[in-house]
């Protein structure tokens, strides 16, 4: 095999493509519609190959991955309704670009979990790193702990719930969707946000440019109570609401296609 090996068994071809000859792992256990395998000694490509084989080809709807060992880019691009359970902590970019799966992570995740998620639910039982839920379009992302800087940056839809604190620049350039922060928020909350709502129960270190306190209405109460009920988060605390002040740019409430119709 060309390229250099390493302790983890990862190899590269002449173009730098990682694991060009990865083999399907042989430790997958299947029981009816459930599948399960230990990822401790598997490479990233092997883990993702196994997930895809089970979900797309074998009709398995419920997969448990043991010992993800902080490996990156696991369960990325799964576009089918199914259940995936990680027993342990994945690394960076876990569950990116997914559309449909219901993922539970009994551990912590690194940067950029669920980036660009279209739909589905990702529940993390412990903390998450920076860029949590970056650019998500839909679905629910629940972090039962703290999340890092730039949580929900460029968010375009969906709901992010963090039961702990979030770091600097949370909600930066947020365009739609909801963020429900049960702890404190770092500096520059909602900086340059276009739209959407951010709810914070704790202290906000500072608001970003054009992020202002919003008016609370019954729909906010209904949303928060519903989300807490669905995800078994107990009684919600009291939140402050923050929205875009719409002073930074000139907005309308139209989709680009609608705007085109009005203009022309």
């Amino acid at each position: 095999m060309p390229g250099s090996g390493s302790r983890s068994g990862v190899s590269y071809d002449a173009r730098g493509l990682v694991e060009p000859h990865a083999e399907m792992p042989d430790n997958i256990e299947v029981d009816g519609h459930r599948g399960r395998f230990d990822a401790a000694d598997l490479t990233i490509r092997q883990i993702n190959m196994a997930l895809r084989q089970l979900i797309y080809n074998d009709g398995i709807t419920d997969v448990t991955v043991l010992n993800p060992s902080s490996k990156h880019s696991l369960a990325v691009g799964i576009l089918k309704r199914c259940r995936i359970h990680f027993e342990g902590s994945p690394g960076w970019f876990a569950c990116g670009l997914i559309d449909g799966p219901e993922v539970t992570i009994n551990g912590r995740v690194g940067w950029s979990v669920a980036e660009n998620m279209m739909s589905g639910v990702v529940t993390i039982e412990r903390g998450a790193g920076s860029l949590t839920g970056a650019a998500i379009r839909g679905g629910d992302l629940i972090v039962k702990g703290d999340a890092g800087a730039r949580t929900g940056i460029d968010q375009k839809g969906g709901t992010i719930i963090v039961t702990g604190d979030v770091g600097i620049n949370t909600g930066f350039m947020m365009q739609r969707g909801r963020q429900i922060i049960c702890g404190n928020a770092g500096m520059n909350l909602g900086d340059s946000m276009y739209d959407g709502s951010i709810y914070v129960a704790g202290k906000v270190r500072s608001l970003g440019v054009d992020c202002v306190p919003g008016e609370w209405d019954d729909a906010d109460t209904e949303l928060i109570e519903r989300k807490f009920r669905i995800h078994g988060l107990g009684d919600p605390p009291e939140f402050q609401k923050f929205v875009c002040g719409k002073q930074l740019h000139n907005y309308d409430a139209l989709e680009p296609s609608e705007r085109k119709l009005v203009i022309h």
């Binding site: 902080s70 960076w92 890092g148 800087a149 604190d165 770091g167």
Partner: protein, 309 residues
């Protein structure tokens, strides 16, 4: 994009050479160009010097072997002339050397005198600090310098992806805080007021081995500590004085500290227990030394933390 790592054992010595190698190798994807270590073995009354006499990719060729031998002899001669008693001089590579000496004089004068030898660059000086860096990944460098058996209390490491300078030793981390003994830094990020601080520190008589912004941090911190500030206070000052995006790890003879800039733009994950603290750019590196599910966290913006041996 580079990877940094650090470990500190608060209950005695451990296999920190092997631990750092495992951590750095797991982050090879962040930087395969060069790997460096700053490790602290048991301190004694000897001063340890790590120095090189040539860049690795320029250490062979016509007459090079004789030149390296001649320059090595010149280094030993100068050590004797400046009043140092040489205990040992060894080399794993032919161009990188480790010397132990008995010396009670001025370290700056010693470093300057040695660096006047053609091709000589002092990588580290101190009672327990040893900086080892070379081209290639962690396994390659560890094997080359036999780091797998290195015992010590704490250390830091760096894997480098060369983005703004050459693939060479001068640009490889960690950086020793010339001329302050036993202080070293690894850094992931970019300082945007590098030239401003370089000029200021040069006006205070410091010189720099490289054009790398990371070297500024080491000298900056050591300068403040020499004025009587603690490592933690010096690191807190750095958050106001240094512009840019950065996460860095600084080590002294008995401490390891981390600092994150106010944008928190560069990653760092922290595992802390009573006997062991491990930090790394990615959690996968922490798993390389703590092979079980543990509580880890990302330090927040403007967070400075220091642990002692």
């Amino acid at each position: 994009m580079c990877g940094i790592a650090g470990v500190i054992h608060r209950d005695g010595t451990a296999d920190i050479g092997a631990e750092l190698t495992a951590m750095l190798q797991s982050m090879k994807h962040r930087g395969p160009d060069s790997t460096g270590y700053a490790v602290y073995g048991p301190a004694d009354d000897l001063v340890v010097i790590r120095f090189v006499l040539a860049e690795p990719n320029k250490s062979t060729g016509f007459g090079m072997e004789e030149r390296l031998e001649r320059n090595r002899a010149e280094v030993e001669s100068r050590l004797a002339k400046i009043g140092a008693e040489v205990a040992t001089v060894t080399s794993d590579t032919g161009y990188a050397f480790r010397a132990t000496i008995r010396y009670g004089g001025d370290l700056k004068a010693l470093a300057d005198y040695l660096e006047d030898v053609p091709g000589c660059e002092v990588l580290s000086l101190g009672s327990s600090l040893e900086i080892i860096k070379d081209l290639g990944d962690a396994q390659t460098v560890s094997g080359q310098y036999n780091l797998g058996s290195f015992q010590g209390t704490h250390g830091i490491g760096h894997v480098r992806m060369a983005t703004e300078s050459e693939v060479d030793l001068a640009s490889a981390h960690p950086y020793w805080a010339y001329p302050f003994a036993d202080v070293a830094v690894v850094h992931n990020g970019q300082l945007t007021n590098y030239h401003q601080w370089r000029r200021r520190l040069e006006q205070h008589g410091h010189r720099f081995q490289s054009e790398c912004d990371s070297e500024i941090i080491a000298v900056y911190l050591a300068e403040y500590m020499a004025r009587g500030l603690s490592l933690e206070t010096a690191m807190k000052h750095s958050l106001d004085d240094l512009d840019g995006v950065f996460t860095y790890v600084c080590v002294t003879g008995n401490e390891l500290g981390i600092a994150k800039d106010e944008m928190a733009a560069k990653p760092l994950v922290l595992f802390e227990s009573d006997p062991l603290v491990a930090v790394a750019t990615e959690e996968v590196a922490i798993r390389a030394v703590v092979k079980r599910e543990v509580e880890t966290r990302d330090p927040y913006e403007r967070e400075v933390l220091v642990w002692q041996v």
